[in-house]
């Protein structure tokens, strides 16, 4: 056997063994007496990541024995990565998530109770009044925290100030006024309202807000295994939402978030029931574009509220350092660092801490002051806003499959009867609960 062949053999064996080892095993971080915490973050906004990095640096400086490893995992991937990590026994110590995901994990029994953290940050009085609903969703029926509110926002009714003024109308507060405004603003190449009918999140969030405004919901909140998506209120909302499609651009059935936000910047759309987070896209299109729009709470028809967007904090009970993990979570909710975080993206991150919500530096921030009308609409909405499908632990699954949006697509694009479309989707929800 020549020397070259022998060398090759040795290298190839080494490579094979390395591949085998890589496939077969994980790795344990060397600790060397210090504590390492893994912290997963799904927020990809560079400004937010930068604030989190600064917060971690300060925390490590104040706690010399602790190292926090920030791992950025986008929202689109994080749920499957959590589950994979949980199955492998190497879930992160702490993570940013959401009330919906947390409810699902709580049902699986993999979360660390977090009452100590709430006590550390000052108890129940630490929370802002606008976080009251999210606070309730973060607790078990016994009042124990399994997740901690971090930030929230809501869907509102966006309207073009100029188009509404041209129609001689005030921002609508009821469904009747909403339809009248949509009809008045639809002429020529102009459309009164954007009603997405694609099977996507944008449709889900818009339609779910209309369901809440009609007094309906996906499940009975007192008995979350009872699906109510085919109840009269929800069907009425689906029917009304679908009827508004006649005032919407013909391509609305293909609009997901980017197309919908881009459509709003064309100056051809009068209204849109959508999240406060759209402000960022409008500002990116130009300050004059953002200035064209006003915002009010979603018009009501007997109900109240709208889709609530949120982030919450969680600690997995697989952590070997639960005390340090909870200490770090309390630090994330330290008002000084927390205020920096919410100021990184004020239209998406409304503060859940009372101290920050009323702080002068927050309220007088140029960016916050510049979107006062929008933030006011969100603040009015939040006490009645609701996280999609909670408290049913399958809500995340339904949201991912865009089941609610499927009903809108079936009615608007497929011409199905609203009651039949709602019943079909409600049955899918029931099946998933039964499974």
């Amino acid at each position: 056997m020549s020397r070259n062949v022998r060398k090759y053999l040795v290298s190839s064996m080494a490579l094979s063994m390395a591949l085998g080892l890589t496939a077969c095993g994980g790795s344990d971080a060397a600790e060397g007496g210090s504590v390492e915490l893994e912290f997963w973050n799904p927020e990809t906004d560079p400004a937010v990541v930068s604030v989190l990095e600064d917060t971690i640096a300060d925390y490590e400086a104040e706690n010399p024995g602790v190292t926090v490893n920030l791992v950025n995992v986008p929202w689109a991937d994080i749920y499957t990565k959590w589950q994979t990590a949980l199955s492998a026994g190497n879930a992160p110590d702490v993570t940013i998530g959401s009330a919906g995901f947390a409810t699902s994990f709580q049902a699986q029994g993999v979360l660390e109770p977090l009452d100590d953290v709430v006590a550390d940050i000052g108890g129940e009085s630490a929370w802002a009044d606008t976080a009251s609903t999210l606070v309730e969703m973060s607790k078990t029926s016994d009042g124990d925290y399994f997740t901690l509110p971090f930030v929230n926002n809501s869907v509102v009714l966006w309207y073009s100030k100029e188009m509404l003024a041209d129609a001689g109308l005030q921002p609508p507060t009821t469904w009747d006024e909403l339809e009248a405004a949509a009809a008045a603003m639809t002429h020529g190449d102009q459309y009164g309202i954007l009603v997405p009918s694609s099977t996507s999140m944008v449709t889900t969030q818009s339609l779910y807000s209309m369901i809440l405004s009609a007094g309906g919901d996906l499940v009975d909140r007192d008995d979350p295994t009872t699906v109510t998506f085919d109840s009269p209120e929800a069907v009425e909302a689906l029917d009304f939402y679908s009827s508004l499609a006649r005032y919407s651009p013909p391509g609305s059935g293909g609009y997901d978030r980017p197309e919908a936000q881009a459509a709003m910047t064309t100056g051809k759309l009068g209204m849109f029931v959508y999240g406060s987070w759209m402000q960022g896209a409008l500002e990116a299109a130009g300050p004059d574009v953002a200035a064209q729009f006003g915002a009010v709470p979603v018009p009501t028809n007997g109900g109240a509220g709208a889709f609530m967007g949120n982030s919450t904090l969680m600690a997995f009970n697989q952590s070997e350092h639960p005390d340090e993990a909870k200490d770090f979570l309390a630090y994330l909710l330290d008002p000084a660092h927390y205020e920096e975080l919410v100021l990184a993206n004020p239209s998406s991150y409304l503060p859940v801490l009372a101290e920050v919500k009323t702080s002068e530096t927050y309220l007088n921030d140029e960016h916050v002051a510049g979107m006062e009308e929008l933030l006011d609409a969100v603040r009015q909405t939040l006490p009645n806003a609701w996280v999609f499908g909670l408290p049913n632990p399958h809500a995340g699954e339904w949201e991912g499959l865009n089941l609610v949006a499927q009903a809108a697509t079936a009615v608007i694009e497929g011409g199905e009867d609203p009651q039949a479309a709602a019943t079909k989707v409600a049955d899918q929800m029931r099946d998933s609960i039964d499974e």
């Binding site: 056997m1 085998g20 099977t199 013909p250 293909g254 699954e397 697509t409 694009e413």
Partner: protein, 321 residues
């Protein structure tokens, strides 16, 4: 020492010497050594294949017999339940037949238009090289860019194509290419054909250049028109390449995920939903790993049957010739 006398009486052989055949025992040992060396040389490639292909494939098939989901960390064996649910549900057969339609129509037009362009670019004219490079652009453009370009150009509010169409007839400007029930599938097939044609064109152009010029000239001298020359001389020469391209593009289109996912996500409704997108949807939006494994396995079986038919046809054809 008896040992030394043995060494002296039968010196070790180096290499194969026909005049002095080695005894059976050393030959067996050499064969064993060569076998071990061969296995060791194959090991890295085998490890890569096993880890990157066999393990995921076996895992997916194994998962399809469980109720594994991303919602629960535990799972149990459910036999063929996922398969019976998928096969008896409303979604499978329409999705399956739509995938065949998407694949068949795409392959047909990708090859037909690719062949037409290849014949055009096989002519001698000024600027031919530049034109070949330009024609390749759709293929080298990333799919995400292709999907976004077309979605923006065909948008009903701000799309340039819709604006131009609207100037001709106002109602054409309102056409919702990606979301109209009757247009969506044709639109994504059109974009797919646009993207695939350059690749078929380049391969078929290479094939055309291998057609002997003297045969074409001879056909021409014998009075054959262009169409007849194409049918009797060019096409028979291209048959092997055409079949190969057809197989590659059948696989490519059948397994296509990105263009439809980025363009329509299977919508409106399920009008453009094909098997790979549905499999992804069930796994990563519905979080049902076991059920998506059944979708993936049924997709694999379908494509394996298509490939099997192709190879059987090729073998018969080769045997005939």
């Amino acid at each position: 020492m008896s040992g030394s006398s043995i060494v002296q009486s039968s010196p070790p052989t180096r290499g194969l010497t026909p005049s002095r055949p080695s005894s059976p025992a050393p030959r067996r040992s050499r064969q064993r050594r060569e076998l071990l060396v061969s296995l060791a040389l194959l090991a890295p490639a085998a490890a890569v294949i096993v880890l990157l292909m066999a393990v995921p494939l076996v895992t997916v098939v194994a998962d399809s017999f469980t109720d594994r989901s991303f919602i629960s960390p535990t799972s149990s064996f459910v036999g063929f339940e996922n398969y019976s649910d998928v096969l008896t549900g409303d979604a499978f057969w329409p999705t399956w037949s739509r995938t065949l339609l998407w694949t068949g129509v795409s392959v047909f037009f990708q090859i037909a238009i690719g062949l037409a362009f290849a014949m055009l670019l096989n002519q001698r004219f000024r600027g031919r090289g530049g034109l070949r490079a330009i024609f390749l652009l759709p293929w080298i453009t990333p799919v995400v860019v292709v999907a976004l370009i077309w979605k923006w150009m065909l948008n009903d509010l701000y799309g340039i194509i819709n604006n131009l169409l609207g100037a001709v007839r106002p109602e054409w400007g309102d056409l919702a290419w990606f979301s109209d029930q009757s247009l969506a599938l044709a639109t994504v097939i059109g974009v797919n054909v646009w993207r695939g044609v350059p690749f078929t064109m380049i391969i078929l152009l290479a094939g055309l250049q291998s057609v002997p010029g003297e045969l074409v000239e001879a056909a021409s001298v014998d009075g054959a028109g262009r169409l007849r020359t194409f049918a009797t001389v060019t096409l028979p020469h291209l048959r092997g390449i055409l079949l190969t391209v057809a197989l590659i593009f059948t696989m490519f289109n059948f397994n296509n995920f990105d263009l439809i996912y980025l363009g329509t996500r299977g919508g409106p409704g399920d009008q453009t939903m094909i098997l790979p997108v549905k499999t992804y949807d069930v796994a990563f939006n519905g979080l049902q790993v076991g059920e998506s494994g059944a979708w993936a396995t049924l997709t694999l079986i379908t494509i394996a049957v298509i490939a099997g038919i192709y190879f059987a046809y090729m073998r018969r054809r080769e045997a005939k010739h």
